[in-house]
């Protein structure tokens, strides 16, 4: 069975699918970020379109609801002049009992060139990538708790934009690591790009087993964890975490792990604050910090379009 690397990068060194930041070589990540650089300027032009994917069909296949992520992929594809088809499969095929692969085969028969897939099961995009025709690309737009690689890459873009070099950075990821696909994408990318001090912070109920083996240091005390950091990444906390006895309450979480100006003061003075959105103000992040001078949360969103354009253009055009 093909591993991540062979599935994602062809023998010619070209990107075939984007499923995970794990196994993505540093060189490939840099190429994606460099390509994104060029697209940032496209977004600033009057006519925000380039013809790179003209005549190509991009299918946004969302087995799990998400308006925001789907929209960013749609904008990115449209700016590349692709035809975009949005399918909310959560409410159509699967309720008719169709299997995931049957849905994919059907869409493939409609001459899809690219699938952007979100699914609540970890590994679903891998399964699809193993079964599509050669030349059809799959982009993972979030699978279960596993990966959200374009989010991870746009975070890398953002960090590079503000910090230039990764090899001297201290980065902390805070909150619900257990359920976060964003965190897993960030961890692999940050390690690959050479971040020497990568920390995760949260209560024991939200830190998955043996996460140290991914190359991170675990902290349970927020202040200790963000002390001296260059980058603080806050993760979204889902409300339903309170039901599974993982946390007593949102307010207690905020007290212990919410990012306030006071806590942020122990990070480096020029530390940046990131959040993949959508934010829960007063749960994982305090409004003055979210809207403050160290927050780069809005630039993340803007860069996200450019990074998704970069990935799509690399997948959809000859090397």
């Amino acid at each position: 069975m093909m591993g991540n690397h062979e599935l994602q990068v062809g023998p010619d060194g070209k990107l075939r699918h984007l499923l995970s930041t794990e196994g993505l070589p540093a060189e490939m990540i840099r190429r994606i970020l460099d390509t994104a650089d060029q697209f940032v300027s496209v977004s600033e032009r009057d006519v925000k379109k380039v013809p790179l994917l003209r005549g190509r069909s991009v299918f946004n296949v969302f087995f799990e609801g998400s308006t925001r992520t789907r929209t960013t992929f749609e904008i990115a594809a449209k700016r590349l002049s692709a035809d975009v088809i949005n399918l909310n499969v959560a409410v159509s095929s699967t309720s008719k009992g169709e299997t995931l692969l049957d849905t994919v085969y059907n869409l493939q028969a409609m001459d899809a060139d690219m699938f952007v897939v979100r699914h609540n099961q970890s590994g679903a995009p891998h399964l699809i990538a193993r079964h599509v025709k050669p030349g059809v690309a799959v982009i993972n737009a979030g699978d279960g708790r596993h990966q959200h690689p374009t989010q991870g890459l746009l975070d890398m873009y953002t960090i590079r934009h503000y910090k230039k070099d990764f090899t001297g950075l201290t980065v902390a990821i805070v909150g619900d690591l257990l359920h976060s696909r964003v965190a897993r994408s960030q961890i692999h990318a940050l390690k690959t790009l050479g971040v020497p001090d990568l920390r995760v912070i949260g209560p024991r109920t939200l830190i998955p087993a043996d996460i140290e083996r991914l190359g991170v240091r675990v902290f349970h005390d927020m202040l200790e964890g963000i002390k001296g950091c260059d980058v603080v990444v806050m993760l979204r906390l889902q409300n339903e975490r309170m039901n599974g006895a993982l946390l007593p309450s949102a307010s207690e979480f905020f007290k212990c792990y919410g990012l306030t100006a006071e806590k942020l003061a122990v990070a480096k003075p020029d530390a940046i604050v990131m959040h993949p959105g959508p934010m829960n103000r007063g749960v994982e992040i305090d409004s003055p910090v979210a809207d403050g001078p160290q927050s780069v949360i809005m630039p993340q969103v803007t860069f996200g379009i450019a990074v998704r354009m970069a990935v799509m253009s690399m997948l959809g055009t000859p090397a």
Binding site: E22, L101, Q121, G123, G144, R184, A209, D210, L214
Partner: protein, 424 residues
């Protein structure tokens, strides 16, 4: 019908025999070893030079998928697979559809299996009605219908009070209760061992403590009620340790391990290989090593195939939605012998867990080649190499994590009651 098997390397784990000799079979039974009985005239003679003659295997868990899952496998297909794997006696768990909670179902299954004449099938009865964990199944009547044990299959353990009563009731009649130790609430929603791999892949975890908590409770209840308990499918080092402790205190427990768990660990899931979605989950390499040691040291009594044919449609889905299980009947023998070789054991020692020790757990006379016993025998070519190719398996279940693995040793012929039920 008299049959003579000559020049075989006759291995009998029960008597620890391993030497070249002959087996003389009359009326479906082993009449004598090495020296023909007076007046013995063979109708058929097999020259088994270069082959091992071992007792037909006793497999403590093989799902035959009948009734209810005939699209996955049938009694016919799986009994042929058993014969091809050298398995002559097997226990099937009650997790069919409907579950084996009525004597009529058990009788029908046993009768159909007997009609096929390819192997001996011992259905386990459901411990609770519909395996729902609420009301006790009619154990005495199921026992009368032929059930040699009662089990929940892979269905969750009943609530503590129900389990407590089930064990007391079973103890009343001296029945054995087979339980897979896994706490339902600690494993709810989980699909992979809690550890680095599940963390990396974002798969909902099943912690080791789900096994050890259930194990401690079951052992405690077994001792208090006096019920005989067989612990099915250990998966962790901590579990092996607890069983060793309980046995040293004299608890009336036995246990088994699935053969896949002797060779694989969570790392083998790789990038979401659904054929490695097994129940219990494949755990850490250190757990696998402890299972291997536990079996070699006799803490674990038996190895089973935990044969579970799953159709492609139920595996070609994301890992977490895949149905757990792997095909195993045809792999049990070569994989057990491979473990034995790697553990430095002689074949007679390595085979104990798939022969007489397994038979003892079932409470039957089987798994041995001695004068007077049924002539359930497997002739095995220990040197023949082969590669596991799912399409070439006899079983209707092609789902195996061992695809492409090169194994040494293949079944040449299988006899049940002196009748040849498989010949390569």
């Amino acid at each position: 019908m008299n049959l003579a098997i000559l020049n075989a390397r006759v291995i009998d784990p029960l008597s620890n025999r391993d030497k070249e000799g002959s087996i003389f079979i009359a009326d479906g039974k082993v009449a004598a070893l090495d020296k023909a009985p007076d007046g013995f005239k063979a109708n058929e003679t097999i020259d088994a030079k270069g082959l091992m003659a071992i007792p037909g295997l006793v497999d403590l868990s093989a799902r035959l998928r009948e009734p209810g899952f005939e699209y996955r496998a049938t009694l016919e297909s799986e009994m042929r697979a058993a014969a091809a794997g050298g398995v002559t006696t097997l226990a099937c768990p009650p997790d069919t559809d409907p579950p084996l909670d009525e004597p009529g179902l058990v009788e029908m299954l046993t009768r159909r299996a007997a009609g096929l004449q390819t192997g001996r099938v011992h259905p386990l009865g459901a411990l609770t009605v519909g395996l729902k964990g609420e009301r006790l199944a009619e154990m005495a009547q199921l026992h009368e219908a032929g059930c040699r044990g009662f089990s929940q299959g892979n269905a969750p353990l009943p609530a503590n009070a129900t389990l407590w009563n089930a064990l007391k009731y079973a103890a009343t009649f001296g029945y054995t209760v087979w339980l897979r130790p896994q706490d339902p609430s600690l494993s709810e929603g989980g699909v992979a061992h809690e550890g680095e791999v599940a963390t990396r892949l974002g798969l909902p975890p099943i912690p080791v403590i789900a096994e050890t908590i259930a194990l401690r409770m079951i052992v405690e209840m077994a001792q208090a009620t006096g019920a005989r308990v067989h612990l099915a499918r250990l998966s962790s080092a901590a579990g092996v340790r607890l069983v060793a402790e309980a046995k040293s205190r004299g608890a009336a427990i036995t246990c088994d391990v699935g053969v896949h768990h002797l060779h694989l660990c969570d790392r083998d899931i790789g990038d979401f290989n659904a054929n490695c979605n097994l129940m219990p989950p494949l755990r850490d390499p250190s757990d696998r090593d402890a299972l291997r040691r536990g079996l070699a040291e006799g803490v674990i009594d038996a190895v089973c195939s935990d044969h579970t044919p799953v159709d492609d449609d139920s595996k070609q889905v994301p890992f977490g939605e895949a149905e757990a299980g792997a095909t195993g009947l045809e792999l049990l023998l070569p994989l057990t012998l491979q473990w034995g070789r790697e553990a430095g054991l002689k074949p007679a020692e390595a085979l104990a867990g798939v022969t007489h020790r397994a038979a003892k757990i079932l409470g039957i006379d089987a798994g041995t080649i001695t004068a007077g016993c049924a002539a359930d025998i497997c002739l095995f070519d220990p040197k023949r190499p082969w590669v596991v190719e799912p399409a070439a398996l006899v079983s209707q279940g092609k789902n195996t994590p061992f695809q492409g693995l090169e194994l040494t040793g293949r079944v040449a012929r299988t006899l049940v009651g002196g009748r040849t039920v498989y010949a390569a």
